[in-house]
Structures are given as structure tokens and as C-alpha cells.
Symmetry: C2
Subunit: 391 residues, 2 copies
């Protein structure tokens, strides 16, 4: 049932503990669903309630704390022994003024004598609200809280062989999906029918492998809406002649993602769209050529930016980010970015979504790849013609 060998999970925990030690942490409360999954295997659609995994130098195994009705989900998906899966009853929920799940977690820490330790919290991770923090502060007055946002995310950076296999499967899924969607786009076709096909294909998967729901809904605007970066399909619109469309999709397998974006023109594309596409592809290729171990993220961004600057274009937003394991609301791993000032040094088996999207006046063009840093350079995990598709 487990997507990874127990030995791989144990290796991850060891790395997390090493990183905790470096940062002087005795306890780490992990609440980011992707980080919980990474160290424990926990995988369920329950991240809309508070839950967490506790790692401590004083505890042999991680402890997974979930809602009682999710106990079976935790037992089934985690690798630890049953006593390290601890359910809390519903009375800790929906009672902001009374009991809270953080009270339950605090009681657990007290019971283990960990209430007065240096405790790392993911202060800026999705779902870790200001209120949760205040409850912990109140319940654990003797603790020292230290911001450990992204501690686990950074450990996740270099992917294992198995993780890369899952991203390859996600890539095959998104390629098939993209191919079918481009095939279907025609003047008069309803946007929702293409979107329905996209979701269908992402879940159907390919060959022996089925897909999972991606952490972000497909982004697929048409026409003027391509000028915004985060529009989806319209519920009643139809594709029209002389319209630009772009689709940012991701396959997902065992929660591992491989995003891919392509731009389509319905009809004879205007010169400026062809020109922008040419520049974006040249910029992307230059950036890909710059990727190799030892290079910093800002150098990769500079390769991209210098290329598009030659043509009078500029991109103020980041042109890439780490990608892999994730839950909603997004598939970014929130560690390194291809952006100015980013000093992170590339290492083998780091994985990125290179996102050279340009949102210009009245239209947008985006052609992206999911990539892996190799021992000597980089390879794309997604494989799809790097061009403007003309329908």
C-alpha cells in the first residue's frame, strides 16, 4: 500500500532530525499536508481540519495526530506503529473559544515531557493559522517556539529514484492530457467540454497508472482572459476564431506533480503573438542550458531575463520554482525560486517548474517545462513540443 519503502521514510525522518539539530530544535510540529505526507505517508482529503505530525529527537518515530473519523485513513497510509497514530475527537473542532486541536496536541507534548522544549512551527505554511499559534502559545507557556517554515520542504528538495519515477508518471499523464485538449480546441467548442476532458484525462491516467487530483485546478483562459495569470475555463463560453488560449495543467501521481503549460492560437496568429512565443521559447531554452549543479537560481533567472530583455521584454515575476509533492492550494514546494537575488545552489535531482509565462497587454503566452537537475546539466521531465500550437 505504501508508495515508498519504510526505509525511505526512515531516511527522510533522519534528514529532518539532522536539520532540526542544526537549527537547535528538539520538537517539530509539522502541519503542512505535503510535509506530513513526506515523513509519515499520511494521505487523505482531511487537511481542512487541524492535524499534524510531531517529530522529536526524544521520539523514535513520528507521531501522527488526526481527527478520529480519519483514524482509518491514517492507519492505512502511514508506516509507523499503531500507537503513533493518535486520533482526537470532534469536540476539539468548531469551538474556537473552547477546545481546539492545538490544545490536544499540547496535551500530547506535555504527556511526553516535551512542553518546555524548543519547538519548531511552520509559521508560514498553508493552513497554520494565527489562531493555532496563539493556542499553542497559551497552552505551552514554557516552550520556546522557533519558526521552522520550510524546514521539511528543503529536505524534500533532492528527489529519490522513486520520487522521480512518480514525477515521470505525472508527466506522461499531463502530456496525454495536453495533447487531447489541444486536439479538441476548435472555434465553437465549449470551453467546459475541453476542461471536462482535461480533468477526465488527468484522472484516467495512462497505461497502468491512474492519476490523482492535482493540487491546483487547471488554469485555462481563452481570449482576453489570457492577460490574467490565474483564470480557469468559463462555464458557458465557447472558443472563437482568432483567440489565444493557454493551459497550465499538472498530472499528479502519489501526490507528485509535473506541471506543463502550452499556448494555442485559434486561427492565424498575429505577428506579436508569434514574436512573443519565439522570445519565450528562446528564453526558456537559454535558461534550460544554464541549469546544472553548482549554478545558483539567480544565474538561471538571469540567463532567461537577459535573453528576453534583448527583445525589449521583461518579466517581473519569478520564472520557476521547486515542484513535486503537494496538496492544495498549489503544487509549488515553496523553497528555491528562479528569481533575482536567489542564491540557492542547484544540486542533482532537484526538480523545478520552469515558468516563463508572459502576461502582456491584452494577452499572455506561456510555455513551460518540469525539469530535473542532472549530474551535469538538466533534463526535462515533461516532454512536449515547445511551440505555439495553431488550430
Amino acid at each position: 500500500m505504501l508508495p515508498f519503502d519504510v526505509i525511505e521514510y526512515k531516511e527522510r525522518v533522519k534528514k529532518v532530525k539532522a536539520s532540526m539539530e542544526e537549527q537547535g530544535l528538539e520538537v517539530l510540529l509539522i502541519t503542512d499536508p505535503a510535509n506530513m505526507n513526506y515523513v509519515s505517508g499520511y494521505d487523505a482529503l482531511s487537511y481542512y481540519v487541524p492535524q499534524g505530525v510531531i517529530i522529536s529527537t526524544n521520539l523514535e518515530e513520528p507521531v501522527c495526530i488526526v481527527r478520529l473519523q480519519d483514524l482509518y485513513c491514517a492507519t492505512e497510509t502511514t508506516w509507523m506503529s499503531q500507537e503513533n497514530v493518535i486520533p482526537y475527537p470532534d469536540k476539539y473542532l468548531w469551538e474556537p473559544k473552547n477546545l481546539h486541536v492545538m490544545d490536544f496536541i499540547s496535551d500530547f507534548l506535555k504527556g511526553k515531557g516535551l512542553h518546555n522544549k524548543k519547538i519548531g512551527l511552520e509559521m508560514d505554511a498553508y493552513y497554520f493559522t494565527a489562531h493555532w499559534y496563539h493556542r499553542l502559545e497559551k497552552c505551552l507557556p514554557d516552550a520556546t517556539f522557533i519558526d521552522a517554515t520550510s524546514l521539511v520542504n528543503w529536505v524534500r528538495g533532492q528527489k529519490s529514484v522513486r520520487e522521480l519515477e512518480y514525477m515521470q508518471i505525472a508527466a506522461r499523464i499531463v502530456e496525454k492530457t495536453m495533447y487531447n485538449a489541444i486536439e479538441k480546441i476548435m472555434p465553437g467548442v465549449r470551453e467546459r467540454d475541453v476542461a471536462a476532458g482535461v480533468y477526465h484525462d488527468l484522472v484516467e491516467g495512462t497505461g497502468v497508472y491512474g492519476g490523482e487530483y492535482p493540487s491546483l485546478s487547471p488554469i485555462m483562459p481563452a481570449g482576453e482572459r489570457t492577460a490574467g495569470a490565474h483564470f480557469s475555463w468559463t462555464t458557458e463560453g465557447k472558443y472563437q476564431n482568432n483567440q489565444l488560449v493557454y493551459m497550465e495543467l499538472s498530472g499528479c501521481y502519489k501526490r507528485y506533480h509535473a506541471p506543463l503549460t502550452r499556448t494555442i492560437y485559434i486561427g492565424q496568429p498575429p505577428e506579436r503573438v508569434l514574436e512573443t512565443t519565439k522570445i519565450v521559447v528562446e528564453g526558456l531554452n537559454t535558461a534550460l542550458a544554464a541549469v546544472k549543479p553548482g549554478v545558483t537560481c539567480e544565474e538561471v533567472e538571469r540567463a532567461w531575463q537577459t535573453t528576453i530583455n534583448k527583445y525589449g521584454l521583461e518579466k517581473e515575476s519569478r520564472m520557476g520554482y521547486t515542484v513535486g509533492l503537494s496538496y492544495p492550494p498549489v503544487w509549488s514546494e515553496d523553497t528555491a525560486y528562479f528569481k533575482p537575488g536567489e542564491k540557492t545552489v542547484l544540486k542533482p535531482n532537484m526538480t523545478f517548474h520552469m515558468m516563463p509565462g508572459m502576461w502582456l497587454d491584452g494577452y499572455g503566452v506561456a510555455i513551460t517545462e518540469t525539469i530535473r537537475v542532472t549530474e551535469t546539466g538538466c533534463e526535462t521531465i515533461t516532454r512536449f513540443p515547445r511551440e505555439l500550437f495553431i488550430k
Copy 2:
């Protein structure tokens, strides 16, 4: 383009301002994506970055602050004048130690002379992290922060005619989807193929109305996995004879949801499953009969609990919650719940997802409805046979 008349948005803002006044707030920073949508119309897949809507008794209109690359999305989807849509550049992102979007928002408040006011924050809303709060505290030392979690959520409680129309459309979508999925489930059919059909149908919609992505992925475990409350399909599994399946799905239209759950048995159901189903349906019907204006939520829960207790069953988790407008990670509106101790009094046009799911030893049964409180009682918005489906 707007899903509601400007007058309806203005009415909402007026109600929010009245509620702010009651709570002594001069400024409200709204960061919950559903609340942002409710007051401003803002709708994009951008809620993975910090963004917000500011409402103040000193400001005529709400002010929507979004990432620069989402400016077009905001201009297109909000009703306010262009000067009240304010973009921040990417330099405020991905720099936890340096600039942060909350710094930008603080500067905006300073510019308007609102830095020393009583400022309401959604301290326990999804996405409002502890880190965001600390940045605001640091940037606005003269402000008084007050927890205003759910202030807007409560204003959203009683739905307008148009909102109810959207929930009806979402209900038609989920009914069609559920019907097709039940049709497809057979021994030997791959779970992912049914799931692919589910997503396809949710997006394809029905008749003139297309669907949107739901705030939570379909929950659809089979076999022993029905004993967990938040499992999805498996990527490689097939349905088998003598297996229980349940599906919790929601249609979505203009971000309004209508969830529906049904349970299916493949083969000849064992007595205990038939018995549990009978009890769940009787409990649900009793609870539905108890719903009317003036009744409290705990009374409805008691009607349900008393009924199932007669048969020796007990449900420790809530059996319903408000539902309607939402974004990931869930479709609950997070206000009133059908649970013990909940004193909220029902009013006409409140909408709930009645969730009498039982997760028992080795299996689970759930049969639910989305409902509206009427002037005299209640009606279901979802309409689907309330029974165990035998395949």
C-alpha cells in the same frame, strides 16, 4: 460578467459594515478567498499567494489587493472602480525575511490613515498564517487587532434568490454526476475510470450551465477504505464483488456548492449494511423534519442522534454544516454546525449540508443532502433517491 448585480455586492458590504460596527471594528482585512469573493467578486486561482480585501467605515468601496500578474483577473471579476484594485509586485513574495505582502497592505493602510484603528483580522481563516499576523503586528504597532474570523462568513448565512439559483444549478450537476457514476460502478471496472467520469460530469455540467472545480476533490472510497472518512479513489484499484462504495461529491457553479453523498453496494449487501442504511435514512429524515426557522442547530442534531441511538448507534462527529460559497480546501462555510451545544437559531434561506455519515468498524455508510431552511420548514436542494444503491 459579474455573477451578481452590483447592488447585491453593495448590500453585502453594507451588512459587513454593520457587523463591523457591532464589533467595534473600523477596518476589516479579509483574506479568506470565499469572503473576498463575497464582498468584491474576486475570483481567480491565485489564493496560494497572500491577497486581501479591505473594508473600512472610512472607505466608500472595498479595496482589493492582489498580485500584479493577477491584476487583470481582479479588474475583470470585481465590481469596484479601477482605483480600488491595487496590485503588488512580486518582490513582496517568497522573501519571508525581507518584504512581505502584509508590509504592502500595511503601507496601504498607513496611506489611508487607518494604521491606528481597530482592525479586524480573520485569525483562524484558511491561509491566514501566523507569519502574516506577525508581519502586521510589526508593521502596524499603533493598530488594535481584533479577531474577526467568520464575521463575513456569518453575513453569508442567509442566501439570496440568486445565490440559491446557483446552488440549484450545482445540485443538478451533482445529481447527474452521481447518477452516471452509480451506473458505471461494476465489478472489474477501474475506480479511476469512474472518478474520471465524475470529474468530467462535474465540469461538463448540465444543459446550458457548465460546472466549476469543486473546493474538495471527490471522496469515493471502496471496500474497507469506506471505514475512513476522507479517502479518494485508488489509482490502480478495480471495484469488486461484495464491496461497499460511497461517494461524496459536490457540483459547483459560480463557486456555490451543493454536496451529495450516496452509498452503493456491489452484490448482495450483508444485513448490517442494510440495517445501518435504514437507520441512517431514518435519522436523516427525522432531522430534516426537525429543521425550521426558530429551531436551534443542536435540536436538529438531537433529533438525528436520538433516532440512531434507538438502534444502538452513535455519531460523535457533527452531522451537518453550512454550505455554499467556497474555495479549496473545503466547501463548508464554517459557521453553524448540527452538533451538540450549538445554539445557532435557524433562519430562512440558511443552507446546510446534512452529513449523516457513519464510519463503523470496517465499513462506512453515508447518505446526505444539501438543504435550505424555508419559511416554514426545510427543502432539499439536492434531489436523489435516499437509499442504498445495489449493483
